[in-house]
């Protein structure tokens, strides 16, 4: 079914040499069809251990230049990135259902009105993408990069739902600085709606809890790019703050039963109260890019400072004492600081071929960088090749990864929680990605 959907899309798009214009409305688009095969951990797509085609996306972009300074833009998007979870018991879409055609949904990536007052100042109102790092605004577009996937230590696809766009607005501009080069800036703010079945919600899932509601108060931030007076060299600083991401959770008795930890027959009582977890997150990113002829070098460092507080300090599970002693959680406010960074290099020996590689490194707790617990880090080394065909916009990619650690897997993959069975994820693993992508 997914092949039936994506192939006609690619064929129709392939018939257009460039963006189409219809009654003044510019129409452009992109699509990709991917295959992922993971040695373990079902990474990126459900069933990837035996090879999965659930790595596809399609987007259509519309633009209309109403006046010399006023522009309208919209983009619809659908993707299918399978299920990151290893255990079907916790099956969730890796991305939000609103973006998954598996659930019949199409997402609205952007919808804004843009007014350019001058090169130095413009404003956008509506749903706008979040400028963050070199790739966040275009993380779905294969045409803008050589690699098939982005370094997950910095561009974690699980977070796309709230990292990508906001309902609000932004201001932007480009300011010349003479011999010092120039500066580009964007500042944005707004909020988002969070799906209960999406990737954000998935991060709250444990065997013990059911997520009842997630809301986000606000997301705001900005980006400053310095285009240095050396051709091809630029530096960037991005920041983003998410405030009052509140999750309401309740004990999940079904999963307690399903976990098989508590023997049957048994009797138990569970607290019927719900608990609210409130999270504030600060993200900071440093970026550098240097292009020289056909060489490209990029490096980015991301630091995430997260503070979580709870409405309840203690939760208790009472089971039949014959089978299980009374268990309780002590909940205290906690703060964690994680970091991720990558270094990427690529080269085009000829116009149509790009070869490259990257190293991507993630640490869940910077206070414990030397940890031996492989659930707390994930290091990924990748080599990739991109071939642009003679059909303009059509390309093929192949990429291989060697990975150590599992910190970027979802909680269910690691079977966290005291009711869970032994972790099922593997420490050392690898995966390959093959893609066909098209844009016009």
């Amino acid at each position: 079914m997914r092949l039936i959907t994506i192939v006609p899309t690619l064929l129709v798009a392939a018939s257009a040499a460039q963006a189409v214009e219809f009654h003044g409305v510019e129409i452009s688009g992109f699509a990709s069809l991917g295959y992922v095969n993971s040695s373990s951990n079902e990474y990126l797509a459900e069933g990837s251990e035996s090879g999965s085609w659930q790595m596809n996306n399609v987007g259509l972009n519309f633009g209309y230049q109403a006046t010399d300074r006023l522009r309208f833009a919209a983009q619809i998007y659908a993707s299918n990135l399978g299920n990151a979870g290893e255990d079907a018991q916790y099956e969730d879409d890796f991305l939000a259902p609103t973006y998954s055609w598996k659930n019949g949904g199409v997402g609205l990536d952007l919808l804004f009105a843009q007014y350019t007052v001058a090169d130095e100042f413009g404003i956008r109102l509506g749903r706008v993408k979040q400028p963050f790092g070199l790739y966040n605004e275009v993380r779905d577009i294969d045409a803008v990069r050589g690699s098939a996937t982005l370094p997950q230590a910095v561009y974690d696809d699980r977070s796309r739902e709230y990292d990508f766009a906001v309902n609000g607005g932004s201001i932007f501009g480009s300011i010349g600085a003479g011999k010092a080069g120039s500066f580009d800036y964007q500042v944005f703010g707004g909020t988002i709606d969070v799906s209960l079945n999406g990737s954000v919600a998935n991060q709250y899932v444990t065997p013990e809890f059911t997520l009842e509601e997630v809301t986000v108060g606000s997301i705001y931030g900005g980006q400053l790019i310095w285009n240095a007076p050396i051709d091809g060299l630029r530096f960037g600083f991005s920041m983003r703050q998410t405030r009052d991401r509140d999750a309401k959770v309740a004990w999940n008795s079904d999963l307690v039963v399903a976990s098989g930890v508590v023997p049957i027959p048994y009797s138990y009582s569970l607290p019927d109260e719900s608990m609210e977890a409130s999270t504030d997150t600060d993200n900071y990113m440093l970026s550098v890019e240097f292009t020289y002829d056909s060489f490209l070098f990029q490096a980015e460092y991301l630091r995430t400072d997260m503070t979580q507080s709870y409405s309840t300090s203690k939760l208790t599970l009472v089971a039949d004492p014959a089978f299980l002693d009374e268990q309780s959680y002590e909940l205290t406010d906690d703060r964690s600081i994680s970091e991720g960074w990558y270094v990427m290099a690529s080269y085009r020996p000829v116009e149509q071929i790009e070869l490259g590689g990257f190293g991507s490194f993630y640490t869940a707790d910077i206070a414990n960088r030397s940890t031996k617990n492989w659930n707390d880090y994930q290091n990924d080394f990748a080599l990739f090749a991109r071939v642009d065909t003679n059909v303009e916009g059509l390309m093929f990619k192949v990429e291989g990864h060697v990975v150590r650690g599992t910190a970027l897997l979802d909680v269910p993959d690691k079977q966290a929680g005291y009711l869970a069975s032994e972790p099922t994820a593997d420490e050392n693993w690898h995966y390959i990605v093959v893609k066909a992508a098209y844009s016009f």
Partner: protein, 135 residues
């Protein structure tokens, strides 16, 4: 002359010769000249309007003239230029450059489109478009 200096000099002269593309604009455009920084900003999507407020319409064409123009004034290869405009288009910020197949098509498009800017391989190919100096 030291061999390395001689090679550098030859390469510099070759680069100047290669950058001999003629920049053209719509005949109604008041600009008599543009700076290299102007071209860099326009073709990198950072300058959207002419001084009189008119929307800038960018035109490009495939082939060696395009490569040479990009290298001289935009600091990108064709692949890098294409990728950077994909970023701009798919974030909704601007319209993609108009693609023209050769000098004649480029000159005709620029001459007929208010606010347009492009380039041709030689001033003689400018047709009805206005030639501007690059300072």
């Amino acid at each position: 002359m030291h061999p390395i200096l001689r090679v550098s000099l030859i390469l510099s002269v070759a680069a100047l010769i290669a950058a001999a593309e003629t920049v053209i604009v719509h005949p109604g455009n008041a600009a008599a000249s543009l700076s290299k920084d102007d071209l860099d900003a326009i073709y990198n999507g950072k300058k959207a309007n002419w001084p009189d407020g008119a929307k800038i319409v960018i035109a490009v064409m495939d082939g060696p003239v395009h490569e040479s123009f990009l290298k001289a004034y935009v600091g990108k290869t064709s692949a890098q230029f294409s990728a950077s405009w994909k970023k701009i288009v798919f974030t909704g910020k601007a319209k993609a450059p108009q693609e023209c197949k050769d000098d004649a098509a480029m000159a005709a498009f620029v001459a007929a489109t208010p606010g347009a800017i492009g380039y041709v391989s030689d001033a003689a190919a400018a047709g009805g478009a206005k030639v501007v100096a690059v300072q």
